[in-house]
């Protein structure tokens, strides 16, 4: 009996629970129902519980064990961490502001510095492209110069699409304003294409997830049938 239950408890029971919960989630296709809500509540609860366990065991305990060798290095982070508990009491909540300020300050500094030198500068530089085909190697399948031209044109037109201007009634629109207006309209098409690509990629991603769940269900059903001797 134990030999029969051991693999079931270790593998098949978990597989069965996952299988059932997956079906409960899919029941949402028929509309909101208590089964879906049960699966939803279980997911939230298990996810939070698992996160707390991971943080406690894999972060707190391990970091403390690492820092115990040099306890002086343990004091500042521990102190800041303890101050955060003061946030639980409104009368002492201001004490916790020190830790919050440290976290926010360090995070903001890292985020701003990284965004500036990791994203902003390189990406702005990436839009400064040469439109001379001679600067690009000749490839039979693609035209880098054309790609560069599209990138430059799309960037400028997209920026101009955010130039909102409406001539007054009866006002004659000059050639410059007309060009800006045309570029803005063209930029909107670039934006629409970008949004279409985002949507299509998101659909592709969710179809992949559906396939993964279907794979799981098929594998789980096969395993369960095999365990039950029906497969």
């Amino acid at each position: 009996m134990e030999a029969l239950l051991a693999p079931f408890l270790t593998e098949s029971l978990g597989l069965l629970v996952a299988f059932v919960l997956t079906l409960l989630v899919f029941s949402y296709l028929l509309g909101d129902n208590p089964l879906f809500r049960l699966a939803q509540a279980l997911f939230v609860g298990v996810g939070i519980g698992y996160g707390i366990i991971v943080v406690f065991h894999y972060v707190l305990m391990r970091r403390l064990s690492l820092l115990s060798a040099n306890w002086l290095l343990t004091v500042p982070p521990l102190l800041l961490g303890l101050l955060l508990w003061a946030k639980l009491w409104p009368a002492w909540s201001k004490v916790g502001n020190v830790s919050v300020a440290f976290i926010l300050g360090a995070g903001a500094a890292l985020a701003i510095g990284g965004a500036l030198f990791g994203t902003l500068v390189p990406q702005v530089r990436a839009t400064v492209l040469s439109l001379d085909p001679a600067d690009y190697p000749a490839t039979p399948d693609s035209n880098p110069a054309l790609d560069a031209g599209i990138i430059v044109l799309g960037t400028l037109c997209t920026l101009l699409s955010f130039h909102f201007r409406t001539p007054a009634p009866g006002q004659r629109v000059g050639p410059g304003a007309a060009l800006i207006h045309f570029a803005g309209r063209l930029g909107r098409y670039f934006i629409m294409i970008s949004f279409g690509a985002l949507f299509a990629n998101m659909v592709m991603s969710r179809i992949s997830l559906l396939l993964g769940r279907i794979d799981f269900l098929l594998d789980a059903a096969d395993t369960l049938l095999t365990w039950l001797g029906l497969g």
């Binding site: 296709l29 996810g47 698992y50 996160g51 991971v54 943080v55 894999y58 972060v59 391990r62 690492l66 360090a106 995070g107 890292l110 985020a111 990284g114 965004a115 030198f117 990791g118 994203t119 390189p122 990406q123 990436a126 492209l129 970008s194 690509a197 985002l198 990629n201 998101m202 659909v203 592709m204 991603s205 969710r206 179809i207 992949s208 997830l209 559906l210 396939l211 993964g212 769940r213 279907i214 794979d215 799981f216 098929l218």
Partner: protein, 889 residues
């Protein structure tokens, strides 16, 4: 700091009296804007807030200034040079001439200053009239008493010089009596010069600080003795010094007042004149005044009062009685002030009793009744100083209102209640405000008063309108002295002043000053409360407490700015106007409201609605069915539409090449930055990647910034390690969880040597693989498997920018492709060396590695699902446009 005008002692800003000599310090005065109520500096002509004019516009005389004024009655207290003996200072026989006391020598500096500022003609005049002793005594007056004399002069200069200009212009027109021409020429220059000086002073006031003569008054420069020999041109030229005679006039007014009040003083108080007693009222009376008007005159110390009384007695002795010519034209009936009812006497101070006595007098002769009260008041020389000294009294300050202020004057109930009570006036005075009624009742002087002064300004009408009475400027008090001395024929005086009064009392005729009117659009914006009772100001005003201005130009004038209490009360929004709706519309609206309010009973579903709902459900079910069919179909048989020979994308090839180019036994760091919710997509890439790495013999270290990611990494590693005989700690290490924050990633990147524990709890430095890594640069490649844009950006920004030579490739969810691709498309130095995008990328990668995994198995299902979605989109659009085309027909 406020410096005492008498002794020069520096006092604090808020001091009211000098700490050394007790002199009353002039408070900082300002000009209250009649439009917005803002307090402006004294020198302002226009309001700082609303640019409203603070100083009335003065009409500049059109005629030459040298034109002689024909009316002597209103001219300077000079007399023609031809008859110096006859017109001379009119000694008073009844009053013994006081022994001329040596004039107390003032400070040398003051003396020089006064001599410099006064014109010669004025000095001569003073000498001729023998004012020296009197002035000397006036100088000896305490500061507070002199201040009481001086303000009217300032007010006269500031507020209503226009009537003086009118007087001058009228005088020019009335230049007729040939026999008096010579005398007039002698007399007019002063008045012409004075009027011009006043006018110009008025024009310049707004732009300049108080003029020198005014400062001189404030500094209490003692008047100089008058020297004979005055030239008209000098008077015109020395405009700055001309107002001194006005100050002298005020002093003369004091003299006249003493003359008139002397009997009363003898009756009631042996030593203290009546008006002086009024100025220094007893404590109880002063409190009453304070309660009634909230304005109190500076109470001088008791010893000083006694000194003043003695001095005033001297002045009275000097002044004596008016000359014979004045007595001849004096009013026939004069009622002494002592006839004031006892009840009023008991309640009111002396100075108010004087006023009430004037009001209680029987109607004067015709000339007196016809004359405007302000001119009657001029004749009532004895009361002038009383009014001036009774500074807090609203009567005087309301008299000082120019015409433009009188337009803003309150209605009957807005008068100062205290004055009303003291005067015993009844509320049923009609539409005339009490304060105005008080002025009206200010009948001719009670005592010996030069009749010429009373008769001279009398207009031809029987009675003067109250509005005209309001026009009286206060500085006429000072001019009265100008009128009384020269003996002028009554006819000429009447003719000269008559028209002047008429013209002066007509505000619209003043050049450059139009009557203010409220525009229609502003009237439309009036609050609803104001529109409700626009025609009953008397009733409405009672509800609103009348506020009296205590500072500025409008000090003592109640109700000039009545908006303040209204503003102080929170405005109640006007209720929406009732809209009359036609009967049909009202019925339709009622029906619509009933229909909208009516709710469908539960369970009642219209057939058409049911059909539409069913159609939507069927359509959705068909779409689901088609999608599930497309996904499941490849599991049972292959369609052959998406075989394994799909050409890989360039980014996939770069990804693959980045791994293929690594040296064997190199250490690759793989970050599983996704959670189980996206494992269906990302695990395909992870499995293909780990199999590729292990197949090539590369060492693998994994970590995750998601709590569930470390478990997924462990699962993938275990599933591949068995195939390639990889040993944990030696060939691969799962570093576990890294807190999801850029700071933790930055700390991990800077960790030197690499410390921590494996997923199993083994210290990294105790493993063989862990000992090979002393810093992040010891990794040959970093692979970021990201289902979140944020974590990939952190890797690029925090690690990629710090280790630019450390190659970084990424496998991402398909939804991140538009966000992440720019890092791969960066020309020159790519921030991402390779990229796997979703399931297609994983499938292409598997195709490159030669290992058929789940990605390739699912690729057909993925393709069919895409085809189904595209077909659904196309069909939906066709149906949509077809329906539109059908509706268009």
């Amino acid at each position: 700091m406020i410096y005492c005008p008498k002794c020069g002692t520096a006092n604090l800003e808020d001091s009211k009296f000098c700490t050394q000599c007790g002199t009353a310090l002039e408070p900082e005065t300002g000009r209250r804007c009649p439009m917005c109520g803002a307090l402006n500096p004294p020198g302002n002509v226009f309001c700082d807030e609303c640019q409203a004019r603070l100083v009335p516009v003065v009409a500049r005389p059109t005629g030459p200034l040298e034109m002689p004024a024909p009316f002597k009655g209103l001219s300077l207290p000079t007399k023609p040079l031809e008859e110096p003996e006859a017109e001379a200072p009119a000694p008073q026989p009844e009053v013994p001439e006081p022994t001329p006391e040596p004039e107390p020598a003032p400070a040398p500096v003051e003396r020089e200053l006064a001599e410099d500022e006064e014109p010669d003609w004025l000095i001569n005049l003073r000498a001729k009239y023998g004012r020296g002793p009197v002035e000397a005594e006036m100088e000896a007056e305490p500061a507070w008493l002199r201040e009481l004399h001086e303000p009217p002069v300032e007010e006269a200069e500031q507020e209503a010089p226009d009537w003086l200009s009118e007087l001058r212009r009228r005088a020019e027109e009335e230049a007729l009596a040939p026999e008096e021409e010579v005398a007039e020429e002698e007399e007019v220059p002063p008045i012409a010069g004075v009027t011009e000086a006043v006018m110009e002073r008025e024009e310049e006031e707004g732009e300049e600080a108080p003029p020198e003569w005014l400062r001189a008054i404030r500094e209490e420069v003692p008047p100089e003795e008058v020297a004979p020999g005055v030239e008209a041109e000098e008077a015109v030229a020395e405009e700055e010094e001309l107002p001194d005679w006005i100050r002298e006039l005020s002093q003369e007014a004091v003299e006249e007042a003493e003359e008139e009040v002397a009997p009363l003083a003898e009756e009631e108080e042996a030593t203290l004149p009546d008006w002086l007693a009024a100025v220094v009222p007893p404590a109880e009376e002063e409190e009453a005044v304070l309660e009634a008007e909230e304005v109190s005159p500076p109470a001088p110390p008791a010893p000083e009062v006694e000194e003043k009384a003695e001095e005033e007695e001297k002045i009275t002795a000097e002044a004596g009685e008016p000359p014979d010519w004045l007595q001849r034209i004096a009013p026939p009936e004069e009622v002494p002030a002592a006839e004031v009812p006892p009840a009023e006497e008991a309640e009111a101070p002396e100075w108010l009793r004087t006023i009430t006595s004037a009001a209680a007098e029987p109607p004067p002769p015709e000339t007196e009744r016809e004359a405007p009260s302000w001119l009657q008041e001029i004749s009532a020389a004895g009361e002038v100083p009383v009014f001036e000294e009774a500074e807090p009294a609203a009567v005087e300050e309301e008299e000082a209102m120019p015409s433009w202020l009188q337009e803003l004057a309150p209605t009957a109930e807005e008068g100062p209640p205290a004055v009303e009570e003291l005067l015993g006036e009844e509320a049923e005075e009609g539409a005339i405000p009490s304060w105005l009624q008080e002025i009206k009742d200010m009948e001719p002087p009670p005592l010996e008063e030069p009749a010429a002064l009373v008769e001279a300004p009398a207009p031809p009408e029987e009675a003067v309108e109250e509005e005209e009475l309001e026009e009286v400027p206060p500085f006429t008090v000072g001019v009265e002295k100008l009128i009384e001395t020269p003996p002028v024929p009554e006819e000429a005086v009447e003719a000269g002043v008559e028209g002047v009064v008429e013209e002066e009392l007509a505000p619209p005729e003043v050049e450059g000053l139009a009557k203010a009117t409220i525009p229609a659009w502003l009237m439309a914006l009036r609050p609803a409360e104001a529109e409700k009772e626009p025609a009953a100001p008397g009733v409405e005003e009672e509800a609103v407490p009348v506020a009296m201005e205590t500072t500025g130009l409008l000090a003592g004038i109640p109700g000039v700015l009545p908006a303040e209490p209204i503003i102080g009360v929170p405005h109640v929004p006007r209720p929406p106007a009732e809209v009359t709706v036609p009967g049909e519309l009202a019925l339709e609206a009622k029906l619509l409201g009933e229909v909208v309010a009516e709710q469908r009973p539960a369970g009642v579903v219209l057939p058409r609605e049911r059909a539409q709902r069913l159609a939507r459900q069927v359509g959705r079910f068909l779409l689901y069915l088609a999608l599930i069919t497309a996904v499941l179909l490849p599991y049972f048989f292959s369609t052959g539409l998406f075989d394994e020979s799909v050409p890989p994308a360039p980014e996939t090839e770069d990804f693959y090449r980045a791994i293929e180019n690594l040296e064997p036994d190199a250490v690759v760091l793989v970050a599983f930055d996704y959670d189980p919710s996206l494992a269906g997509e990302m695990n395909l890439q992870a499995e293909a990647l780990v199999h590729h790495l292990m197949r090539r013999g590369l060492k693998v270290m994994t970590l995750s910034m998601y709590p569930g990611g470390q478990a997924l990494a462990e699962q993938v590693l275990l599933s591949a390690a068995g195939l390639y005989e990889y040993q944990a700690g030696t060939d691969y290490i799962n570093l576990g969880y890294l807190p999801n924050h850029p700071a933790s990633l930055r700390a991990f990147a800077g960790m030197n040597p690499l410390v921590g524990f494996s997923y199993e709890g083994t210290p990294v430095q105790e493993t063989l693989l862990g000992q090979r890594i002393s810093s992040l640069s010891d990794f040959a490649l970093i692979v970021e498997l990201a289902a979140d844009q944020q974590t990939l950006r952190w890797w690029v920004e925090q690690v990629g920018s710090q280790y630019p030579n450390l190659p970084l490739v990424a496998g991402i969810s398909a939804g991140l492709d538009p966000y992440v691709r720019p890092y791969y498309e960066t020309p020159g130095r790519r921030q991402l060396k390779g990229l796997l995008v979703g399931l297609p990328g994983a499938a292409q990668y598997e195709g490159l590695t030669g290992r058929v995994g789940r990605a390739l198995d699912n690729l057909e299902s993925q393709g069919l699902a895409h085809l189904t979605i595209v077909a659904a989109i196309v069909v939906s659009n066709v149906v949509y446009f077809a329906s539109r085309f059908r509706k268009g027909k």
